[in-house]
Amino acid sequence: MPEPHTPIDDVITVQRGPEPGGLGGAYRAFGATLRGLRTTLGRVAEKPPTYQYPEEKTPVYPRFRGRHKLQRFEDTGLEKCVGCSLCVAACPAECIRVVAAENTPDNQVSAGERYAAVYEINMTRCIFCGYCEVACPFDAITMGNDYEMADYHRSDLIFTKEMLLADAIEKTPLRREGE
């Protein structure tokens, strides 16, 4: 345990400002108010920092962790997921359910020996920490850019494998370079 530090030179005492009331108060009721008005009116020329959502979607950064997506190999169209359940082990919210099944020559779904017959993510539980993406050794599950996932029924928020393999209906824009 280090010695307690006595920061004598490092201390800065904040200013107390004027005492309220009195003649100064009467002056400030006008003077300081006008100063405040000048400050706010000076901002009129500034561009508004808001987005006109939902007409204009808020763009996200490349690392943004949104709605999950299950990936396929581009050339063969086979699923990357081999049903190893590492994402299930890594999930702190316990929102992923995977049931693996064997690939057969007639029914080759994934590139490995096994594939995920059931792959469900309960979006009402998901905290979007991205540990599933980190855990996956095959880059089969990734976090996409989409953040619009609200729905009317909780049962609709349990995303099935088909929903996760499909693209989102509306794409979320990415931030431009330097924005």
């Binding site: 307690p4 920061p7 800065i12 405040g36 690392r63 962790r65 991205g130 540990y131 370079e177 330097g178």
Partner: protein, 447 residues
């Protein structure tokens, strides 16, 4: 008092138990709740009040007990305050907490060490980087793991940006309680600059899980430093604008000056830390007193107040934002090259590209993801300076991959004790200002 017709048999049984059991074992909040009876409130005057000739309570001197919250915009969360009022004057305050109890500390015992980071971040939801830092510090102490210098600097940068964001949120909501609505828009606008930086570096605006045991999750992306410097350039001018609006505003002065004064000795006796304590002139800042995560490398000052009223609390926090800007700038200037997380493969995940080439890396990856890392038995407490004061974390390890106990010493919880000293015998409007200046985060209080 309890014959108001609202009693159930269960409650009278507990009343009977009270006579034979020691009084200290009974939960005090239950007594407080039983001391109010809604059924008799209108007929019987509360003891200690005078009754006028008509038999009704004297409205001038009647003591009235009211609930402020749990759903009240001025309580900054779900804080329930049982206030005894005499007219407009607050005579007694009893904070009742537990409305956002999440059981995070208990849940952590069921998670591997690296997964518990996502849980502890959600306690004090405006200071998530601090929660993760203090938890990681405790685990790193148990593991005797060194954090690389670059990771320490990146942690400092993110924590100080988080402190600015937290203080800005406080400024906006506190000024809103006083009626200065422009401050809310402005403060949230600047807070967005910080959140954009968090999203860019870690992928999430809140609860980023960026800090990991042994370092940070990934390096900052290209362009992050330039964007951070742009935000740092903007901030001083914006702070000047806040001060132009508030510092000498007559309403702000009347509401802030000489209200909610608590003596330094009393705050120290209550265990209060952070800007509340520094506003009384006590320069207690853990970043200086016990430097952690290479805070010793940076030049900054500790803003202190003189009187310890609400105005000093406001000025101290605003001055702290300026000091934080200085720290971030120095950390960006001196950001060392090197790894951003420890190279110990037993603790930190191997780099992604090694998974395809190295069998050993793949085995480590599988072991860490499925089982986590084991921490040798022992206990550790670390403390850091969060935006609200001393944030401590106690971790008890039993040799397995899950913590046996995680406990947080949350500054909001301790600071809440000083609310009675601040608001007692003041006008109810000043009391609202005191809650705002206390800056309680209920997620941290209830955990």
């Amino acid at each position: 008092m309890t014959d108001g017709g609202l009693d159930t048999p269960g409650e009278s049984q507990s009343g009977a138990r009270r006579t034979d059991g020691p009084a200290a074992l009974l939960p005090p909040y239950r007594e407080r709740e039983e001391s109010i009876s809604l059924g008799t409130l209108d007929e019987q005057p509360v003891s200690g009040t005078e009754v006028d000739i008509d038999g009704g309570p004297d409205r001038e001197t009647e003591l009235m007990t009211i609930n402020l919250g749990p759903h009240h915009p001025a309580t900054h969360g779900v804080l329930r305050l049982l206030c005894t009022l005499e007219g407009e004057v607050v005579r007694d305050i009893k904070p009742l907490i537990g409305y956002v109890h999440t059981g995070i500390e208990k849940s952590c015992e069921d998670q591997e060490y690296w997964k518990a980071i996502t849980f502890v971040e959600r306690m004090d939801y405006l200071a998530y980087y601090f929660n993760a830092q203090v938890y990681c510090m405790s685990v790193e102490t148990l593991l005797e793991e060194e954090v690389p210098p670059r990771a320490q600097y990146l942690r400092v940068i993110h924590m100080e940006l988080n402190r600015i964001a937290s203080h800005l949120f406080w400024l906006g909501t506190a000024a809103l309680d006083i009626g200065a609505i422009t401050m809310l828009w402005w403060a949230l606008r600047e807070r967005d600059l910080m959140l954009d930086l968090f999203e860019m570096s870690s992928g999430q605006r809140l609860h980023t899980r960026y800090f990991q045991v042994g370092g940070v999750f990934e390096d900052i992306p290209p362009g992050w430093e330039a964007k951070c410097r742009r935000a740092l350039e903007v901030m001083p001018a914006r702070l000047d604008q806040y001060e132009a609006l508030l510092d000498e505003n007559e309403i702000w002065l009347q509401r802030m000056k000489n209200t909610g004064i608590v003596a330094r000795e009393e705050l120290l006796a209550l265990g209060v830390t952070g800007p509340l304590l520094r506003a009384t002139g006590e320069p207690w800042d853990l970043r200086k007193a016990m430097p952690y995560s290479s805070y010793g490398d940076f030049q900054f000052r500790i803003p202190v107040g003189t009187v310890g009223d609400n105005y000093d609390r406001y000025r101290v926090r605003l001055a702290e934002i300026r000091e934080s800007l200085k720290i971030v700038e120095q950390a960006l200037d001196g950001l060392p090259e090197g790894p951003f997380i420890t190279s110990n493969r037993k603790v930190a995940l191997p780099p992604r590209h090694e998974l395809a080439t190295s069998m050993e890396a793949l085995i480590h990856h599988f072991k860490l993801v499925t089982e986590g890392f084991r921490v040798p038995p022992g206990e550790a407490y670390s403390a850091i300076e969060s935006p609200r004061g001393e944030l401590g974390c106690y971790v008890l390890a039993d040799g397995s991959a899950k913590p046996s106990r995680v406990h947080m010493r949350d500054p909001s919880f301790v600071n809440l004790q000083s609310l009675k000293a601040m608001g007692e015998n003041s006008l109810i409007a000043d009391f609202i200002a005191c809650i705002a200046m206390l800056d309680p985060i209920l997620g941290g209080i209830d955990r």
